[in-house]
């Protein structure tokens, strides 16, 4: 069964450092997403990406965040200067058309 893969599974970083979270979506999918879930809270939409550009982003997705699809297979989320409140589980998802049926296993980011 096809799956979305994310690396690393857990990353601990010092406040102010840059992190890059990596995702390999399912190969024929067209829409790509990043969501995050702070421990004990709701899953929150960050950004959607379609046709090689951001199609929508939330208010959380400020200038510290960026996404790229550098080589047609990977889909990355970069946080330029991490803050303590960026600590969360970050999920990548992809879909062909209808809805996000496929989520990666997530990257747990801990900022200390």
């Amino acid at each position: 069964e096809p799956e979305v893969t994310q690396t690393p599974s857990h990353q601990v970083t010092q406040m102010g450092q840059e992190v890059i979270l990596r995702c390999v979506p399912i190969s024929n999918h067209l829409y790509f997403y990043w969501y995050r879930q702070i421990l004990g809270q709701k899953v929150e939409f960050l950004v959607s990406f379609y046709n090689n550009e951001i199609s929508e982003k939330s208010e959380i997705f400020d200038d510290q965040f960026s996404v790229e699809r550098p080589d047609g297979s990977n889909f990355t989320l970069k946080i330029r200067s991490t803050k303590l409140e960026d600590s969360a589980m970050y999920f990548c998802a992809s879909s062909y058309f209808v809805a996000e049926a496929f989520f990666g296993q997530g990257t747990r980011l801990t900022v200390v």
Partner: protein
């Protein structure tokens, strides 16, 4: 403001019981309602409901959407300990090429042997 509200927040039952999880939504440009099961990490897709009144079934799980009253229910019959998880409901908001899921907080289900 778009919102999805799930109830109850937490539920503890014994194996064999039947449970009903509720999800109400207020989502602009609503397209569909999705249910996910979240165990340790990623949400795992269960159902997508787009039409009102049509029940979707998968084994012991079933779900239905009421677009007039803006709610959905997820039923699990003959529960097993493996059903223990957080069940998430999300409204799919879709306008042009902009699509995103608006999530509820989830219902934490614990099934005791």
């Amino acid at each position: 403001e778009d919102k999805v509200v799930q109830s109850p927040l937490s539920l503890v039952v014994h194996e064999g019981d039947t449970v009903t999880l509720n999800c109400s939504y207020e989502v602009t440009n609503f397209r569909s309602l999705l249910w996910y099961k979240q165990e340790k990490k990623a949400p795992t897709f269960l159902f997508m409901l787009t039409s009102s009144g049509i029940e979707k079934k998968s084994g012991r799980l079933s779900s239905i959407l009421d677009k007039k009253e803006l709610f959905s229910i997820l039923n699990i019959t003959a529960t097993q300990t493996g059903d223990s998880a957080v069940y998430l409901c999300a409204g799919l908001q879709w306008a042009g090429n902009n699509r995103k899921l608006i999530w509820g907080l989830g219902t934490s289900l614990a099934v005791n042997p």
